[in-house]
Symmetry: C2
Subunit: 463 residues, 2 copies
C-alpha cells in the first residue's frame, strides 16, 4: 500500500505541504459538528498525531462521524499548513476509508489511565502516549548501543541462553527441562535421572553471558553481548524482573581505566542519540513523567565522570552516617542510599567507585596488590545509583585457580575459563549494563514493568 | 592502554606507515633464524594478521624466539611498507612485551583442524581463521538487520522469552520451572501443582515472538523482533539447533505484496552490507568453504526475485517429478528438493512462492477468496531453499475466531490476539527469518553448529 508515515510528514514537511497524501492510522479522538469534524490520527511512527478535517462532502460522512476511538482508517487529502494553530499542519480529507472499526467499549478512551490498569492490557498499552514514547525510546536505546559498539568494530556475540552450569553463582536460576513434571524419571537412589532430559544433564537459563563473552574477547579483542538474562528471585519490587536484557562488553589488552573510559563514552553516546532522535518523546517525559529528566541527562553528557576508590568513598560517607538508614563501614556493600548520596550530593555528577573489598565481589575480579581489594568498578548516576558494574578480570592462572578453590567452586566447571589464562592470557576487563535499568534512567519511568513490553515477574507471565 | 587495532593499520594505512605503532595480539605463527625472526600476529579486529620482524637487538630476544603459538604479546615498532611482499606492510619490532605465554600443548597449532574437533573447544575456535570469519560476519549480519529496520523507522520490540502458552502450536517446547524436580509438588489428584511454581502456572520457552509482535505492529505500524527462540525437537541434523535467533518484522496497513517487497529489500541490504564490510572474510569463504558463494550472493543482489503461486509451482514441478525423491502433488508441502529445483533450475534466482493450501499453514494466515489457500509466502534462494516464511495475517475477527475453533485451539489463549481484530483491525503482514540460516547462507557454512558460538543441540549444552 502506498502510504506516507506521519513521521515523514513532520520530518520532511516542506516536501509534502500542499500535496495530496495518504496515511493509515488509528483514531485517537474525534469531535464533530453538524457538517464537519476533526479526527486526531496517530500511526505509531511519530509521537505527534496529525489532525484530519473532514466534512459532509465525504460519501461516507455518516460512517466517519460515528467512528469510535481506536478505529483504523486510511485518509487521503491535502496537507495544509496551519500557522495559526499549535500543530504545524492538518490533512483536509478527500477520502476516508474505514480499515477496521472499533467499539464503544474500547479500553483506551480519551482519558488518563493508571499505569497499573494499563499493565493489565499490555497488548494495547503501546497505543497510549506514555507507552508509545517508552517503547520507541527503548528501541532507539537498543540501536544506539549496537551502533556505538559496531562503529568501534566490536564483535557482537550471542552468548547462550540455556546453560549447563551456574557460572557466576549469581542468584537463583530457572531450570529448563523437557521431562514430564508429573512423572520425573528417577534413578534407583531417588535422584532425578537427567540422562532422560533433553541435554542429558541439568540445565538453567543464563544469569550472565560474561564468562562466555570473555572467551570471545580473547579472540576478537573487543566484543559485546546484548541478550536476555534471567533471575528467579522471589522479589516483588519496582526494579526487578525475572527476564531482562543485558549488555556486557569485554575488552582485551585493557585494564580498569580502559573499562571506565568505555563505560563513560557509551553512556554519553546513548543519551545523545536518544536526545537527538526522540526529542518529542524526551520532552514528554520531562513534562509529564520526571520533571528534572532533561537537566539530569544533559548534566551527564556534559560532565567528566568523577572517580573515587571504595575506601575513599567510605571515608567520605562515614562523615554523613547520620543521614543513612544503613550506616556505612569498610567492608560492607554500598546501599542505594549511599550510592545516590555520593553521586547526587557529593559529586553532583556520575561517579566511578573502584577497588572494592574482594569479599563483596565476584571470584573472577582481578586482585589488587593490597591483597584486600579487587579491580572492580561501579558507575553511579544521579537519580538511580548504580547503573553499571564491571571489573578487570583476574588474568593470572594461579591466582584465579586459588580463588576458585578458596570459594569452593568446582574447578571442572571452569576449565574453559582457566584455559584463557593458560593460552595467551591478556589483561582484560568488561562491564554489565542492565538494559531495562538504562531505559528507566533515560525515560524517568519508575517501574521496570512499564519499560518491558510483556514483563515477567513473580506470579506474572501474561501473553 | 594505547594500542592500535590491526584493522586500523589496514584501513588507514597511509596514516600509520613509517610511524611507530603499538599493537597487542596473539601469535599465530613464529619462525626464527639465528639472529632474527618473524611472528604473525592477529589481534582479532581484522581478518588479516600482521607480520612482525624482530632481531637480537631486542633485550628479551631469547624469550621472544621461544614463544609458543597462542601467546599474547604487545609489539612496538615502525610500520614499514613491503611493496615486494604479499602483505602490504610489516612491523619492525623495537620492543616486544610478553603479555601472556602459551604452551606447546596449545590446541590450535598451525595446522588444519576439522570442524568436528573445533566444536569440542568452542571457547578457542574463534581464534582460527574460519571461525574468526564466521563470527565477525555473524556480528555484521546482526547489525545490518538492525540498521535496515531502524533506518526505516521500525520499532525494535523485545518479545518475551518465557511464555505462558504454546501460541503457535509449533513443535515441542522447553519447560521453565523453579520447582524441585526431585520432589515436584502435586495436587491430590496427582497432577502437578503449578501454584507452587514461580509464575503460578506452567511456562515454556518461546517458539516465536510473532503474536506478541503483532500487538505492537497495531500500535507502531512497523516493528521487528530480533531475539532467541527455542525448539525442543529431538532432531540431530546439520540445520536444527535447540536455541537460535529469529527476526520477525510485522507491518500494518500492509498486505502480502508489501511483505515481499520488505523481505526482498532486507535480504539484498544484508548481503550488500556484508560484502562491503567484510570483503576479506567473504573472499575467504568463497575460496575455502564454498566456491560459488560470491557469484550466488551477487546474483541475489542483482536479481528481481521471481513470483509464483503454490498452485503454479506444483504444476511446474509435476513435470519434473521423475527427478524427486518425494513426488509433488497439490496439497502437500514442498520439500527442500522441490524448493531448490524451483529456485536453482527453473528461475535461477530467488523466488517467492505464495498462496499455499490452508491445511499446511498456520491458523493466523489470511484466507484467500478461493477459501482453499491462504496469503502465505515462502522465499526460496539458490543453495538453500526456504530462507524466509511469512504471511498476511487474518484481520477479520469472525474468520479468525472460526479458524481457532475449527482447529480446536483454546479461544481464551487468543483473547488478546482477537482484540487486535476488534479494536481498529488493519491489514497486516510479517515474516520470520531464521538468523542462523541467514548466517549459513552468507558464509557457505553447512552445519548450524558452526555458526553459533556455543550451540545447543540434543544432548549437547557445553560451556
Amino acid at each position: 500500500m502506498d502510504l506516507v508515515n506521519i513521521r515523514d510528514l513532520f520530518r520532511s514537511k516542506d516536501e509534502y505541504l500542499d500535496t495530496t497524501v495518504t496515511i493509515g492510522g488509528w483514531v485517537r479522538s474525534l469531535r464533530n459538528s453538524k457538517n464537519f469534524g476533526f479526527i486526531v490520527v496517530n500511526d505509531g511512527t511519530f509521537f505527534e498525531p496529525v489532525q484530519v478535517v473532514f466534512s459532509n462532502v465525504l460519501e461516507n460522512f455518516e460512517e466517519v462521524e460515528k467512528l469510535n476511538v481506536g478505529a483504523a482508517i486510511i485518509v487521503t487529502g491535502k496537507l495544509v499548513a496551519t500557522p495559526e494553530m499549535k500543530q504545524p499542519f492538518e490533512i483536509q480529507a478527500e477520502k476516508i476509508e474505514v480499515e477496521g472499526a472499533s467499539t464503544p467499549d474500547y479500553p483506551l478512551q480519551k482519558k488518563k489511565h493508571s499505569f497499573e490498569y494499563l499493565r493489565t492490557i499490555s497488548h494495547l498499552r503501546p497505543r497510549t502516549n506514555t507507552f508509545e514514547a517508552v517503547f520507541r525510546v527503548r528501541s532507539l536505546i537498543a540501536y544506539a548501543i549496537h551502533k556505538f559498539f559496531q562503529e568501534r568494530d566490536f564483535v557482537y556475540v550471542h552468548t547462550p541462553l540455556i546453560t549447563g552450569s551456574d557460572c557466576e553463582g549469581a542468584g537463583e536460576m530457572f531450570q529448563v527441562t523437557t521431562m514430564d513434571l508429573a512423572n520425573v524419571p528417577k534413578n534407583p537412589d531417588g535422584t532425578v535421572d537427567y540422562t532422560k532430559d533433553f541435554f542429558n544433564k541439568p540445565t538453567n537459563l543464563t544469569v550472565s553471558g560474561q564468562l562466555n563473552g570473555e572467551t570471545y574477547a580473547m579472540a576478537f579483542k573487543n566484543i559485546y553481548t546484548f541478550g536476555p538474562t534471567f533471575r528467579a528471585e522471589n522479589s516483588n519490587t519496582t526494579r526487578h524482573a525475572a527476564e531482562f536484557w543485558m549488555i556486557e562488553p569485554e575488552i582485551a589488552f585493557a585494564d580498569l581505566e580502559d573499562d571506565m573510559i568505555l563505560a563513560e563514552s557509551m553512556l554519553k553516546y546513548i543519551i545523545r542519540y536518544v536526545l537527538e532522535n526522540a526529542p518529542e518523546e524526551m520532552a514528554f517525559f520531562n513534562n509529564f513523567i520526571d520533571k528534572g529528566l532533561l537537566d539530569r541527562l544533559n548534566n551527564v553528557v556534559n560532565s567528566d565522570f568523577a572517580r573515587v576508590t571504595y575506601t575513599e568513598a567510605i571515608e567520605i560517607l562515614e562523615k554523613h552516617n547520620d543521614k543513612f538508614e544503613y550506616k556505612v563501614s569498610w567492608g560492607a556493600d554500598l546501599q542505594t542510599e549511599h550510592e545516590r548520596y555520593l553521586t547526587e550530593e557529593i559529586y553532583k555528577r556520575p561517579v566511578f567507585v573502584t577497588d572494592y573489598p574482594k569479599e563483596i565481589k565476584a571470584f573472577y575480579m582481578k586482585m589488587n596488590e593490597d591483597g584486600k581489594t579487587v579491580a572492580a568498578v561501579d558507575c553511579l548516576v544521579p537519580g538511580i545509583g548504580e547503573i553499571i558494574g564491571g571489573s578487570q578480570r583476574e588474568d593470572d592462572y594461579d591466582k584465579l585457580l586459588a580463588r576458585i578453590n578458596e570459594l569452593g567452586l568446582r574447578e571442572e566447571d571452569y576449565e574453559f575459563y582457566l584455559d584463557l589464562r593458560k593460552y595467551g592470557s591478556a589483561r582484560h576487563a568488561g562491564f554489565g549494563l542492565g538494559f531495562e535499568r538504562c531505559v528507566m534512567y533515560l525515560t524517568g519511568m519508575s517501574n521496570i514493568r512499564d519499560v518491558i513490553p510483556f514483563p515477567r515477574t513473580v506470579n506474572n507471565c501474561e501473553l
